[in-house]
Symmetry: C2
Subunit: 359 residues, 2 copies
């Protein structure tokens, strides 16, 4: 493991870039003992004064100038064609060139995924990358994927997501043998659609040395019924955003309850001495910011576009954890298990891996 880690930042990506990127990096660095270097890709004229305002940050940062940047509304296919040399492209390319371990961007998700695929290439055995999110549960975090890279998935792709998610969870959340569930609905005649049912059959048949627990439902995500929850990118994205919206709604109710009267305010002041800070931290969506792209030869972390400095700092912490982990090796180990399992299944009625892959 490297003694010095390097994070490569798309300084111009996101709704409030480059300001929150630099401020977020300063928050991230504060009090950190581990030595980290940061590459800022973007407009030097804008970046230099912002970075110089934080001497600690300036001491470990390097600006890689470029004037080009990817538009937040660009289509991914356009982005790939037009974005060579942009701050996003260069941030990812630095990982490919071995200059940095992880790239971070708060820019256009589709463009970032497309650029990452072109620059880093997919791992052998992976047909589609996925975006994994860490989700707060009563004890720690669960891992949910895909949360937005693929709106439609084949059963074999869902199996790949299970494999990548399991490796991710072990590497990042430190659990030796994570449990894995497949997101489904419980109410329907035939228990979900064909894709989910076929993925379930594959996961059961394909002796993957994985603690697969079968179907879970939406409420199981926050309960932490399984460590890893596998779903397609449409459902996963809706679930993630629904949870964020719900947490925000409930936080508003709590705030209202704590400020609705003089007595409530007094109670809030007392709570301030107690556990209100921790409660606030737990309910702050900025503390769970950062989706990780899985399945590539290199690590890319996507921050929310609209995040603030605290949220961006969280994305950088996740990036650092990824860089520090054995994550890529874990995924490779799991993928080779899948290949072996599917090879030994060949000739049975279970569809071979990648058979559905035509696009």
């Amino acid at each position: 493991m490297n003694s010095q880690l390097v994070l490569s930042l798309d300084a111009m990506g996101g709704d409030h870039a480059p300001g929150i990127v630099v401020d977020g990096a300063a928050v991230f660095l504060k009090g950190r003992r581990r030595k980290v270097r940061l590459l800022f890709h973007g407009d030097e004229a804008q970046l230099k004064p912002l970075i110089d305002a934080h001497p600690e940050l300036a001491a470990v940062s390097e600006i890689r100038h470029t004037e080009s940047q990817v538009d937040m509304s660009a289509k991914p296919s356009e982005a790939v064609r037009r974005s060579r040399g942009s701050s996003m492209w260069n941030a990812v390319q630095a990982v490919r060139d071995g200059e940095a371990q992880v790239a971070v961007s708060a820019g256009n998700t589709g463009a970032l995924m497309a650029i990452s695929k072109v620059c880093l290439r997919m791992k052998a055995g992976v047909h589609r990358p996925a975006i994994a999110a860490s989700w707060p549960v009563p004890k720690g975090f669960s891992t949910v994927l895909d949360v937005g890279a693929n709106v439609e998935c084949t059963p074999a792709q869902l199996v790949e997501f299970a494999i990548m998610g399991e490796a991710f969870h072990r590497a990042v959340h430190g659990k030796d043998r994570p449990t894995v569930g497949l997101l489904n609905v419980g109410q329907e005649e035939l228990k979900g659609n064909d894709v989910v049912r076929d993925a379930d059959a594959l996961l059961r048949a394909a002796h993957l040395d994985m603690d697969y627990r079968g179907y879970v439902e939406g409420n199981d995500i926050s309960t932490g019924t399984t460590d890893v929850v596998v779903t397609d990118g449409f459902t996963g994205n809706v679930a993630l955003k629904t949870a964020e919206g719900t947490a925000r709604l409930v936080a508003g109710w709590v705030r209202e309850a704590l400020t609705s009267s003089l007595i409530s305010k007094l109670a809030a002041a007392l709570l301030q001495l107690g556990a209100l800070g921790q409660l606030r931290a737990r309910m702050d969506p900025n503390n769970v910011n950062g989706g990780v792209f899985l399945g590539l030869n290199g690590v890319v972390v996507k921050s929310h576009g609209g995040t603030n400095a605290a949220g961006y700092a969280t994305a950088l912490r996740i990036a650092l954890e990824m860089a520090d982990s054995a994550f890529l090796n874990e995924i490779e180990r799991n993928l080779s298990l899948l290949e072996t399992a599917l090879a030994s299944e060949a000739g049975t009625e279970v569809p071979a891996h990648g058979q559905e892959e035509t696009a």
Copy 2:
């Protein structure tokens, strides 16, 4: 409008039936001025002592004895074949026979939907019924559908859901001109899958006299960005359960914060004088229990199977609101608008309504 409303209850459906059904009915009746009669379908030997324990309830209740009941794990197709004469079947049949305005069950959702379709038949112009849920937002409620009846939907079915949901919201939540959104993801290259895109095109093209606002995302549901959120039953069910799980998680955090130390407990005691009661009520999932089946010639309300008496009482309150509303007329009015709109669109490139309907 009838001066006396009659609710027809499947007294044997649900995880804790018939106990919570009777207790829930007693909670529902308490302090209610409007005259309501209740039909309990189920095992008289079990039901009579339970009901007699609540004299107020006994005074307005009638037991319709049957020993048969639908198994919680029965497949819908089986349920329809075998369940004639069961408590669930009889509860729905009483609506069909004009004895009651609304049927309520906490039993097997798939079976309840199948029985409802057979007994009540779908409204002319409706191809698939949907389940609508009322969802708390900062001001009042939004309506989300489908939350579990159809795992896969065609674009034309999503348009029907929009029409039924808009009518439901106007009738039940009293808003004159509800806004309507279509649930989608914002991150993907092509903005969602083909079904969602085609439904969007249909909703825009089909001059429905509806305030359609286009795509919304998961976080918009709890924000109340639109009054009605339309989606397929798979995504809607996952979103609903994810929100419930998230609310429960956050409620746990709040509880922990209010009991973590002596000072916190003192603060909680102070809050008790203030707004803690309201906060608790808002966060209690029992206060949003009750999915309404839309698209049938009659109203059926589905309670959570695992609910408690307070939750079952909520489902009965929703049933009463439905019975009291002009909901069925509103839906008919909207459906006739759709027919007119689609007739006038015939010959254009917009796919005709029901064209995708092959199953």
